[in-house]
């Protein structure tokens, strides 16, 4: 541990609750934060799996009433979806939100909350330092995947197809008031999705650790997230009903979310965002493929303390690296992580997931201007990033 950052801010505005069947008491939690007419935001898959109904049933534990359900959130939410969700809020006269789903659902609810306090168009309020002009409506988030950590972060990522861009809305007030981690809502997640969302969470942890904005509090959360994911992701993937493993994965994803909400992420996310935008590569898959390559790349930044950080990753995994130098320890960690992605059955190369080879240059230009790139240590050059894409190809 060294290179203490000169300045940082850290916050976790919401409360986190974790227990099997904790959604049974979601009504009580809503009473605590003052919501009375609830719009449930979800997607069709989650609804068809019966998860939305479990949460609606849990509302009976309190006095708030469910006045509507908005189930039209697509895998990557967009401006028009948020608008339709807000129309539903008005139609149902809702005063608070419960989101049940993955990152896209929770982000849609966060952005809808903006429309509930502001006037005008959502785009008028698009900012990474958005300041709400009034108190945000009560919002409880219930994740059904263990990946994004969006239930505790204060940003929403929403696509704007007209501008062909993913827009970021960010303010600490946007964090849901309560995040309820209930492993019983994740036991039916299929192995492929368990693996890729879990690798998304792991990437958040590792990128928070090598981010230029990393600081000790986030480091602690990220490293513990790594300890948990490297122990439990393979178990949750092999046996979806392993409730302990499911619980630890939810907790780890939540910690990863808190860590990267405060410390931000780097080159791997910049590249994954670009692949997602251009070729629709699922975010978790892109992160999983790029993670070991990105780490190898960042090893060059020894002045920024990267090999020393990755030694801590190796220690968190539980590798015996006591007699290795930082670089060797880091490489052992990277190899171990590669082995994990093989064990849980994820693709290893971009060529396996439909990324066209002649699209790598366009992906590179896009990645170079992604906000995440600026938080990566050093100053990666365009040629270096293209080379990195090719390696991962």
């Amino acid at each position: 541990m060294s290179n203490l950052v000169e300045w940082f801010e850290f916050q976790v505005p919401g409360k986190v609750i974790c227990a099997q069947q904790c959604v049974d008491s979601i009504g009580t939690e809503m009473d605590n934060i003052g919501g009375s007419k609830v719009l449930v935001v979800t997607d069709e898959g989650v609804e068809n799996a019966g998860l939305t109904q479990k949460v609606i049933d849990g509302m009976d534990s309190g006095s708030a009433e469910v006045v509507g359900v908005f189930n039209e959130v697509p895998p990557n939410s967009e401006i028009q979806v948020v608008q339709r969700c807000y129309d539903k809020v008005k139609e149902a006269d809702a005063d608070c939100l419960v989101s049940v789903g993955g990152g896209s659902v929770m982000d849609t609810a966060k952005a809808t909350a903006i429309l509930m306090v502001e006037t005008g168009d959502l785009l008028d309020h698009q900012s990474a330092v958005y300041t709400p002009s009034g108190p945000m409506p009560p919002h409880i988030a219930v994740p059904t995947t263990a990946g994004t950590g969006s239930e505790s972060t204060f940003a929403a990522v929403i696509a704007d197809h007209e501008q062909e861009m993913k827009l970021i809305f960010q303010a600490p007030e946007m964090a849901p008031n309560v995040a309820m981690l209930d492993p019983m809502l994740t036991t039916t997640l299929p192995p492929g999705l368990t693996a890729s969302t879990g690798m998304d969470a792991l990437t958040h942890c590792i990128e928070a650790l090598h981010s230029e904005m990393h600081e000790p509090i986030c480091d602690g959360l990220a490293l513990h997230g790594i300890r948990l994911i490297t122990r439990y992701l393979a178990r949750a993937t092999a046996d979806g009903e392993d409730v302990d493993a499911r619980t630890y994965m939810l907790i780890a994803a939540n910690m990863g979310g808190v860590a990267f909400a405060n410390a931000f992420v780097g080159i791997i996310h910049a590249m994954a965002h670009s692949l997602g935008g251009h070729f629709g590569t699922p975010h978790g898959i892109a992160n999983s493929i790029l993670l070991p390559y990105g780490m190898e790349f960042n090893l060059r930044y020894s002045d920024e303390g990267i090999p020393a950080s990755y030694r801590r990753v190796a220690e968190a995994i539980g590798l015996d690296v006591a007699s290795d130098d930082d670089d060797t320890a880091s490489r052992k960690a990277i190899e171990w992580l590669r082995g994990l992605t093989v064990e849980i059955g994820l693709p290893q190369r971009l060529s396996e997931v439909g990324v066209p080879e002649d699209g790598l240059e366009a992906a590179t230009s896009e990645a170079m201007i992604d906000g995440c790139m600026f938080n990566n240590p050093g100053d990666p050059e365009e040629e270096e990033v293209l080379e990195l894409f090719k390696k991962a190809y």
Binding site: S2, F8, P216, H224, Y248, D320
Partner: protein
Amino acid sequence: MALKDYYEFFAPTKVMFSEGISEDAGEVAETLGGTCAMILTDKGVMEAGLVEPVKDSLEGSSLEFAGVYSDIPVNSEVAICNEIAELGREKGVDTLVSVGGGSVIDTAKGVNILLGVGGDLLEDWQGTYLVPEPLKKHIAIPTTAGTGAEVSVGAVIKHSPDNQKISFNSRFIIPDVAMLDPVLTRSMPPRLTAATGVDALTHAVESYSSLDHCSPSDALSFYAIKMILEYLPRAFEDGNDMEARGYMLIAASFGGTALSTTASIGACHAMAHAAGGLCSVPHGIANAIILPVVMEFNLEHCPDRYADLAPAVGVKTSGLSEIDAARKVIERITEFIADFGLPRTLKEAGADPSFAERLTDEAMGDAQMFSNPHEAESEEIQELFEKLLS
């Protein structure tokens, strides 16, 4: 890793860290939307000149400045809270800025209850989760790296005439902002640095082994221990080592959040509270004396938890059984504390040797005892006290 059935993690304080950040207190108060600020501190902090920059910043802000209250004693009292609240009400204070150690910050929490919801601290608000609604704004600026009061959910305030320590726990008394400025801890003498640092270490070790531990508290405790083992000796040797001072402030905050999350942590804290209340042994010193003894006492009930800390304290345990690994961790922590040259027994720290029974009664009733890794019998605790008093 045993998984806890249910936990809540609530740590809403915005933590801000930087050398000299206390000079921005005024701006931060503005962002909280306050209109009239008051500083709460004690004489020592005043004399060390630590309040000046905070005061200048508040005076230069758009808030009205209602002055400095600097008469908070080392172990604050309910009567003091009442007195300050009276002053605050007269002046329309809606933003409290506490600059000091745990006693000062806890006093501000008590004052905040009175300014926010009125009533009587003892009759209406002692206990857990009674305060019904958000209070006034509170910015906490710690001048020691130990208690973690700047982020924690509790306040401990003494009540005369019987010197009972009263606990107030409420999510609404958690400060809104903690400003961690290592410059303010630079003038702490080595012995105070060590005692407060070991207090932070004890929070982390005991919350790691607490029956109420959960993943977020584990994460925070584990890395707090790692930082304290690395940086407390450096801050002790050279008070001007700003990197070490910085890490210690951050580690103490970690410890405070961990403690706040587990709520009840263990026998060491219960015993240290008793020794503080009845024999005036400073809290950090009491923890330094008691922690190794309590770890030994708990060893066979939580060897897995102690063994788990091996990488945090930097001992190699490969090839060892769990219990032997746990023993090595205890040895390392015991040596670590011993190196600071603090008293080794309560007798050495000035406690009355005839007090074992009274101390035991007090400790057994302390809420911190409930989550010790195993249920301690009164006779066992008395035996420990007798050993430490002889």
